[in-house]
Symmetry: C2
Subunit: 223 residues, 2 copies
């Protein structure tokens, strides 16, 4: 059993029929489960080797299912790639974004978001580290729906950071700053930390320390 | 004639014999020229599709030479990859690093370095944009000489930025700052700008504006 399959075991897979209602129809459920299994493995592979390197045949081989079965589930490679981005996004939201909601809005939530991001990059959800760092650089030169989906995720993540910075700044919790510019800077150093973490513990931890210093400088209370 | 070959035409290719002396021996010269032609094309391809995707056969096909000829020049794929990193580094030094040396040390040279970097990312020397941005994310999970060579380039570039920041800070030209931490932040936003520039003019120019604002904030004179 592949790593992808083992990891999917812990997920609740819910199938919906054409009207969006949860269904227990066995065939539909099986289809949804296969789709989810294939997607989760596709995401793992893409975090290592990039979405461009995904192949329906390789996925089928890894998971011991027929290539025509994978083709039936996704149609084209491009559909598989955009579905993999959506799947990675869901995992990211579950592991990084949602847990931070328990922190109060503003500086505390920004800290929670960046700390869970660092955890995500350190003990990666995806074996190759940040799914977006691995794929944005690959797809930036390839216009199309896959690139659009990847960049939408990046924009949403920066907007999330900016919203907490704006909240902290507007409420006087931190010194005045430009929330969008600061979110852009924080996102850039997080991506740099992800790269450094792939290199090994020593280099990675040094860079994580830098990210925290950058963040805390932005979160300093007004003088 | 491929893009790679056309672009190499403007380069001076100098062959050296075993003692490092410039030679005019025709066979050696031809060998050096082929090596340089293949390498420059390899760098272009790797900036688009990554070093991992390089193949001796593809290069031979693109350039209309035999695969065994390419094999004789480089031996293994790994040798070709590390040679491609060294070639990209030379082009980068010629186009980005050396021109900035005419600016006085400190803030002016830091501006010159980052501006020539932005030019490099905007009208790219390499068709896929920054060679390192395209490959660091791919190779961060793959230990070995190629990864080491890529990261050595990144470390040297950050050290170059840090040296000018240190000079500006020590001389009182700018407010006191941590040169290494600041260089890390500048490098991170430059990489983010490179990604945005691949997306198109509007997005790219907005991000270039942000990079300049970040830089100028660091270069503000002491109060």
């Amino acid at each position: 059993m592949s790593e992808g399959e083992r990891r999917i075991a812990g997920y609740d897979v819910v199938a919906r029929d054409g009207n969006g209602a949860v269904t227990s129809d066995r065939r539909l459920l099986r289809g949804a489960r296969s789709r989810q299994t294939v997607l989760r493995h596709a995401v793992d592979l893409a975090s290592l080797d990039g979405l461009a390197g995904l192949s329906l045949g390789r996925l089928a081989g890894d998971l011991g299912i027929s290539k025509s079965g994978v083709q039936t589930l996704f149609g084209s490679k491009e559909n598989l790639q955009t579905a993999a981005v959506a799947c990675a996004r869901e995992v990211f939201d579950d592991e990084v974004v949602r847990p931070a909601r328990s922190a109060p809005r503003g500086a505390a939530r920004l800290r929670a978001l960046t700390e869970s991001w660092i955890e995500y990059a350190r003990a990666p959800l995806f074996p190759g580290g940040c799914f977006w760092a691995a794929n944005l650089a690959d797809f930036d030169s390839r216009p199309g729906p896959v690139r659009d989906a990847l960049f939408r995720c990046q924009r949403d993540w920066r907007a999330l950071l900016a919203a907490e910075l704006r909240h902290a700044s507007d409420s006087g919790e931190i010194a005045e700053l430009d929330p969008d510019l600061t979110a852009f800077q924080l996102d850039a150093v997080l991506i740099a930390a992800n790269t450094a973490l792939r290199l090994g513990d020593e280099e990675g931890e040094e860079v994580v320390g830098r990210v925290r210093r950058v963040r805390e400088a932005f979160l300093a209370p007004p003088r």
